[in-house]
Symmetry: C2
Subunit: 363 residues, 2 copies
Amino acid sequence: MSSPSTPRPAALIVRQASPPNLETPFHALDGRITPGESVYVRSHFPAPDLNAESWRLQLGGLVDSPLGLSLDDLRAMPAHTVAATMECAGNGRMYLSPRMPGVQWDLGAVGTAEWTGVLLRDVLERVGIRDGALEVVLEGADCGTLTDPGRTPGDIRYARSVPLAQAQDDVLLAYAMNGQPLTRDHGFPLRAVVPGWYGMAAVKWLTTLHVTDAPYQGFFQTVDYSFWQGRDGLSPQMVPMTAMQVKAQIARPAPHDTVTAGRPCEVVGAAWTGEGDVTRVEFSSDGGTSWADAELLDAPQAGVWRRWRYGWQTPGQPGTVTLMARATDSAGRRQEADHDAGRGGYMINFPLPITVYLRAEDS
Amino acid sequence: MSSPSTPRPAALIVRQASPPNLETPFHALDGRITPGESVYVRSHFPAPDLNAESWRLQLGGLVDSPLGLSLDDLRAMPAHTVAATMECAGNGRMYLSPRMPGVQWDLGAVGTAEWTGVLLRDVLERVGIRDGALEVVLEGADCGTLTDPGRTPGDIRYARSVPLAQAQDDVLLAYAMNGQPLTRDHGFPLRAVVPGWYGMAAVKWLTTLHVTDAPYQGFFQTVDYSFWQGRDGLSPQMVPMTAMQVKAQIARPAPHDTVTAGRPCEVVGAAWTGEGDVTRVEFSSDGGTSWADAELLDAPQAGVWRRWRYGWQTPGQPGTVTLMARATDSAGRRQEADHDAGRGGYMINFPLPITVYLRAEDS
């Protein structure tokens, strides 16, 4: 059996040096949990260098008793560890045609880590939520200048909101990833983890939690990380991105790998969805005309991808083929063949075409 | 006394031929009510040609009994006539530096008309508002294709919402302007009039009223006709434009008029505000360094501009001067000297500089 690309040592690929936007070499997919040094990094602004001693998490807004919590305060609270697959909403952007502005991610702005911290709901209980509360705005320490053509918002901090119901469910405030304290690039000393949602909600360098009575309308909730819902009608509305779309990716063969013609080839990958579980993965080696069921390797686990495999018998003739994978989840959602233009450069979950070369055995 | 520019016959100035965007010659300001043929026209899409017989106003959403109303049904309801000053949110855009995209309005995307129709609250009473209602979405029959770079919303209809409290207050559904049935350009057979708000809320060619339980996030409420509020902090939020900002405009002398040096010159204009009344207008002939009180000519009237005059003694030496006017309203708001960049090409209420030439009497 040919082994088109043995997992190479995992090192992050630099898509943008400053601020750091680094993707995992997805072809190196191995265990269900991504090694810490291989977890992708997405930054909007330069990473703040926060002092763990003086840092405080400030809680305010519609709460009974505003509060500032130190890292020690948080560590003294009940700790929870959750595994979560997190994908950047722009993952796969380089496959879009026409090209969309933004970091040109390949397959690697996704990963699965084990996060340790306190539940947001436990923190909210300490301050007491007042009547009329609707959302919790998560604000980071990272800030910079953004220009929106024609309507410059100027200097802004990175911030995102979650509905109160979500905040009181499974949102984690994490101080550790895979058993190690967060690194600076991953949001030291504290970041949010919103299981099932795209990474934009997992605010890093958390400094403020603000409970509000109105939908948050900041830049990263409206101009950025929002999409047009209802484009089949004449009244589309701008909706903030939330849950990850169902998606399967092929790890190996990697794009532009060479495999041997007329031989078995082990195809492996991972598949995830934002709500429920992935229940089916299909594989195509003819550009999406025909599909065959792949084998799911991992048991279902809420919020965590399932690895899969397919024993592909490669064609006998040398040439070039396009491999694709698509997933279906427990809610019956299956990846659509085409990208919805209303999503712009985000939520890219059409089956990505992976080109591989077939070569005769002795060539 | 010199009379720099006698009111000329009022004809609309074509800023854009198709769809029609026509402005009033503001220098021709005469009565408090703008003649119907001089009321500015703002169109986003080609004007629909609606048939008064088959046309219906559809009411749906969070209502007890959805309903379709004909023009006769509406005319059979109690009629109300209200005078309202209406300004396009982009009025004065040509004075912005740097230039902003959009129709390059001079001073004339503003006017005051008498609107006749039924109160929105009377219509809502007929269908019954259900618990949880938050807004009423006003949808027109006009539609077209818009492109938002990177996130194309595609074909959309013009729509805007008003909060329920506003809808149950003084919003009018008008079928006549200045005693005449609406013309096609003004929204025949029915348009909204939202007193005190910029014109974008006065949806023309009304076809649907949709009562909703969530803030409307359509294109003309978010990408267009919204602004950044809170730019002095690091968390600005996108807010839909609503009430008109306090503003005074000089009608005569008109921009680039020539007046006689060393003589009295009658300066006239109008001033308005979205909430409350204009209480003071000041005039400057030195580019905003010094200000003198102008005389208000009209009594306060909610939602209607007040005309004003100032007896200007022109300098004795020929040259060029910059005239400005600024208003203060009953809430204590006064026009700011500079345009807030967060407003983009909208809500332009800094004192607009009007250049006039001084010429010796016998030249």
